[in-house]
Amino acid sequence: MFIIQGVQMRKILVISILVIIILFIPSYAIAEDELTENDIINSQKESINIGKFLEEAKKYSSEAFSDIDYSEFLTSAITGNIDNETLGKGILNIIGKETIGSIRVIRKYNNYYSDT
């Protein structure tokens, strides 16, 4: 009888300790550094080596769009705010430059023939 009571007491003690532990241990966790979409995208950029691709892009189209910084352009494309104005200005500049060039060539040949 006394032995059973001692076992029961031990059980009650263990259960009460467990209840105390469960009550006092915090059931939530706080992240120290939140992982955002930008962090994921930046890590993907690094792993794919986008920097080298952007260098190549700059090399190929430097004649037409010399003003465009492709790193910034990529960031704006990710956020969905593409700067169309710079592109339009670049194309208009080329049209203007080429038109003036054509007129100069025609004038040069005209003057050459007039002189000869």
């Binding site: 979409e37 995208i41 794919i48 691709f53 892009a57 004649e63 494309a77």
Partner: protein, 281 residues
């Protein structure tokens, strides 16, 4: 104009053979001037095509890697060989077949304008129209092949990814759903990056092509205007020669425009194919 003045002077000469020789010398002088300009333009078109192919060979592996990151493994495996083959094929076809045809056609056109008896106008027209037909067929084949292959593989990719996500969410206890959501976030970010890289690629393709296209359009306009202005005063052969050069520049413009449109459409389709796979989620 100068040719017409000289022609009227030489016609005043009594000796017909001298006047004819003088006429041909003038004609050859004009042809030489036009040809020096034409050689520069041909080199410019060749350089642009080579730059386009070179850049697309850089762009496609990055896009394919990003497509794989979005989980579209079958699409990536199917598209990469097709794309790389077609891009290289088109580059070689234009540089080694189409541009020489244009050169031959131009030479025949110039010769047929000099000679009175030998007429090769029909052959020139045949070469020009065959260039346009070849380009049209290649463009249609490329777009249709890419669309069909892409639409089939993207459906398979979408369903596979959805099944995998459902299995992970159901069978992994406690963290299964969190894991599925985390994978979805990473895939979504990869998709955003892929679309952004595709847009940068399209802008660079435009940047490579825009200068030669504008240059060719202006030259074509200049030659047609020149022919129209010279018609009342100049010899008919000179007017036809200027028109012939305008037609040649038109064909070169068509080549460059169709290739740039082909690469832009190709890049857009690659972006779109993997996006449609994501729709199944």
């Amino acid at each position: 104009m100068i040719h017409s003045i000289l022609k009227s002077i030489s016609e005043g000469l009594e000796n017909k053979s001298i006047s004819q020789v003088a006429y041909y010398v003038q004609y050859i002088l004009i042809v030489t001037l036009i040809m020096s300009n034409f050689a520069d333009i041909i080199n410019m078109v060749k350089d642009s095509i080579n730059n386009l192919v070179g850049f697309c060979n850089t762009l496609i592996p990055i896009l394919i890697t990003l497509i794989m990151t979005t989980g579209s493994v079958i699409s990536a495996n199917l598209l990469q060989p097709i794309l790389l083959f077609i891009i290289t094929f088109i580059g070689n076809l234009i540089t080694n077949v189409i541009l020489p045809i244009v050169l031959v056609s131009t030479a025949l056109g110039i010769v047929s304008k000099i000679a009175t008896h030998v007429q090769l106008d029909r052959l020139t027209k045949f070469f020009n129209s065959s260039v346009v037909w070849i380009l049209g067929v290649v463009l249609t084949l490329f777009v249709s092949l890419l669309s069909i292959e892409g639409s089939l593989s993207s459906s398979v990719d979408g369903i596979t990814a959805k099944t995998t996500k459902a299995a992970v969410s159901s069978f992994i206890p406690v963290v299964g759903k969190i894991l599925g959501d985390a994978v979805d976030t990473v895939i979504g970010c990869a998709s955003i990056l892929k679309n952004a890289v595709g847009i940068v690629g399209i802008v660079v393709i435009i940047g490579i092509c825009i200068t030669p296209i504008i240059k060719l359009a202006l030259l074509m306009g200049t030659y047609y205007i020149g022919a129209a202005l010279c018609q009342p005063i100049a010899d008919e052969k000179i007017v036809k020669l200027l028109e012939q050069m305008g037609d040649t520049f038109k064909v070169l413009l068509a080549i460059l425009c169709s290739v740039s449109v082909l690469f832009i459409v190709g890049t857009t389709l690659v972006m779109k194919i993997s996006n449609s796979g994501l729709m199944y989620r």
